[in-house]
């Protein structure tokens, strides 16, 4: 481990000028030109090409040129040494891991960087002396810079670390989760430090509205420890915050030493509020960091760990909104699809559609019918053509002549047959007529006889015939035929019809038959 007292490692120039040489310069009789003298000095000074010089750098005195080179003054109580740290050297500085003269190991945390220089403090600068002739200035061209006194503090840090670890301060089991996007944050840092600016600048674009309550405290020096512990205690006493954030910008081990104090570590350990510590830079580890529930590499990272980027939250809302819109569109599309399907089903089931379907079916059948008819006609046409073709091939003039002859023969034969048939039929007809005449004559005779008998019978039944046999018909005065004595009256004129004429008579007396008289008497009694 590199010792804090590095005087022993300072390397003297390899070629020191002797007193004789100095005397030569001093007593030179001819005057030097400025260039000559400066050149002479340059040779002497630049012989200090590998030295380590310890001094202090005042805070915020480092000047950065646009070229990336850094200029600062290294001082002590009585003197000042201008220094330049070229960009190239600065970039290589931290790769130097041992003192080339003593062989001592240089830990990474011992190296100082630009921010350390800006913080100010005691440093050990390694490099070579250079004289810049145009301005007559000499300066130390730095190759690397170490923080003075780090060696002892580093050892102390390790000792304290072991001690606190043995007390369980760093146990993972006791680490509590830090609330995400907290709304009440207790912040412990120096109001004038760069840390709070970095923290607030980054926080401004993150999370939702949160209330950050600053508990001001020194973050460097002997007074920092009681203020830090008091601030932690105050935040816990209020019990208002969701999270306690302790931040500080980068600095040397000495600068950050207050955060390695056991009292501060104890206050963090005992805090009821989860603690997030962002102290120093990535390479700076303090006991406060190790004791805290969560360590942020820098103050800005503390803000990162606390709050989500606001644009990420906005993007999350946007994504959800887009998902919602897509889902709604799909939802409506599904409903439209279902509706269209139902409408289609309804249309298919409607009377109009059924009618249309039946019409279509009818039309199809008609078309099929027409098609089949056409096919049939086509088929028959083809068959006819085939037959015609066959006929044309088989029916010749000779065959026609033969057929005509056959027809003529048949006609002659037909005529003969018809004639014979006709004669036979006529003969049969004549026989029939003759038979019918005979029958009719016989029938007529029979009927005539019967009629004559009937006429004779009828004649015999005529009243005149009865009259001839002695009967008469009596006609009353009024022309009525008298059939009963009761129809006649006393003195009435009668006409008596006989076979050969009439007799006029007058009723003189009316005499009833005996049976008639008896029956009339009975009727009168009744």
């Amino acid at each position: 481990m590199l010792n804090a007292n590095l005087k022993g490692s300072t390397v003297k120039p390899k070629t020191l000028h002797t007193s004789a040489t100095r005397q030569l310069i001093t007593h030179f009789t001819e005057p030097w030109t400025v260039s000559q003298f400066t050149q002479e000095l340059k040779e002497h000074l630049e012989a200090y090409n590998d030295v380590m010089i310890q001094g202090e750098i005042a805070p915020n005195t480092c000047k950065m040129a646009s070229s990336g080179h850094c200029y600062f003054n290294l001082t002590d109580a009585k003197a000042l040494l201008k220094c330049v740290w070229f960009q190239g050297s600065r970039q290589k500085a931290k790769s130097i891991d041992h003192n080339p003269h003593t062989g001592e190991v240089i830990e990474p945390y011992q190296h100082a960087d630009l921010e350390d220089l800006q913080q100010g403090g005691k440093f050990i600068c390694a490099g070579k002396i250079s004289l810049y002739e145009p301005r007559g200035e000499y300066q130390l061209v730095v190759s690397y810079i170490l923080q003075a006194g780090v060696g002892n503090l580093a050892a102390e840090f390790e000792r304290l670390k072991k001690e606190l670890a043995s007390w369980g301060y760093f146990a993972k089991e006791r680490k509590r989760p830090i609330p995400k996007n907290p709304r009440r944050v207790a912040l412990i840092t120096a109001p004038g430090g760069a840390a709070i600016c970095d923290f607030c600048r980054l926080a401004a674009s993150r999370g939702l509205s949160a209330k950050i309550r600053l508990f001001p405290s020194l973050v460097q020096g002997a007074e920092a420890v009681p203020q830090l512990t008091q601030a932690i205690a105050m935040a816990n006493a209020q019990n208002w915050a969701e999270v306690l954030v302790i931040i500080r910008g980068g600095g040397s081990l000495e600068d950050l030493w207050c955060f390695n104090d056991k009292a501060v570590a104890k206050a963090i350990y005992e805090s009821r509020i989860p603690v997030l510590a962002g102290i120093g830079h990535e390479i700076d580890f303090t006991l406060a960091d190790l004791t805290a529930d969560l360590r942020a590499a820098t103050p800005t990272e503390a803000a990162v760990l606390l709050w989500s980027v606001r644009t990420d939250l906005a993007a999350q809302v946007h994504t959800l909104h887009m998902q919602l819109t897509r889902s709604m569109q799909s939802h409506i599309a599904r409903a439209e699809h279902n509706l269209a399907h139902l409408e289609k089903v309804l249309r298919l089931a409607s009377p109009a559609r059924r009618l249309q379907m039946m019409q279509e079916r009818l039309q199809n059948l008609v078309q099929q019918f027409h098609l089949q008819i056409r096919n049939w006609l086509t088929h028959k046409g083809a068959h006819l053509q085939q037959l015609e073709h066959q006929l044309a091939q088989t029916v010749t003039a000779e065959t026609l002549k033969n057929k005509a002859m056959q027809i003529n023969v048949a006609q002659d034969k037909l005529r003969r047959n018809v004639k014979v048939l006709l004669q036979n039929k006529l003969q049969v007809l004549a026989q029939g007529v003759m038979f019918l005449g005979q029958r009719m004559t016989k029938k007529l005779e029979t009927e005539t006889n019967s009629l004559e008998k009937l006429l004779a019978l009828l004649e015999s039944k005529k009243p005149t015939a009865l009259l001839k046999r002695g009967y008469a018909i009596i006609e009353g005065a009024e022309g009525k035929i008298i059939t009963s004595v009761q129809q006649a009256s006393q003195g009435e004129d009668l006409k008596i019809h006989l076979a050969d004429g009439q007799i006029a008579a007058k009723v003189q007396d009316i005499m009833h038959t005996q049976e008639h008289a008896q029956s009339k008497a009975i009727d009168e009694k009744k």
Binding site: K211, I212, V317, L320, S327
Partner: protein, 77 residues
């Protein structure tokens, strides 16, 4: 934004997530879907408004009292 407002953001964001999840389940009637969509859009709008208006409030606790603090004051402290 008030603390209630922050709660509202988280509540509304959770509600928006729930609505999107419900849509994914696909068991919503058309009317219910329309209602939930409307509610979801309102949640998203409210969340955006809260994000746009979000601003941290910085205070300092000194001498047993809390005072408002601007970042410029901090830088100049």
């Amino acid at each position: 934004m008030s603390e209630q407002g922050l709660d509202d953001f988280e509540t509304k964001l959770a509600r928006l997530q729930e609505i999107v999840k419900n849509f994914d389940s696909g068991n919503l009637s058309l009317q219910k879907g329309m209602d939930m969509y409307k509610e979801g859009v309102e949640c998203a709008k409210a969340c955006r408004t809260m994000l746009n208006e979000a601003q941290h409030q910085l205070t300092i606790w000194q001498n047993e009292e809390e005072k408002a603090l601007e970042l410029t004051q901090v830088q100049n402290a």
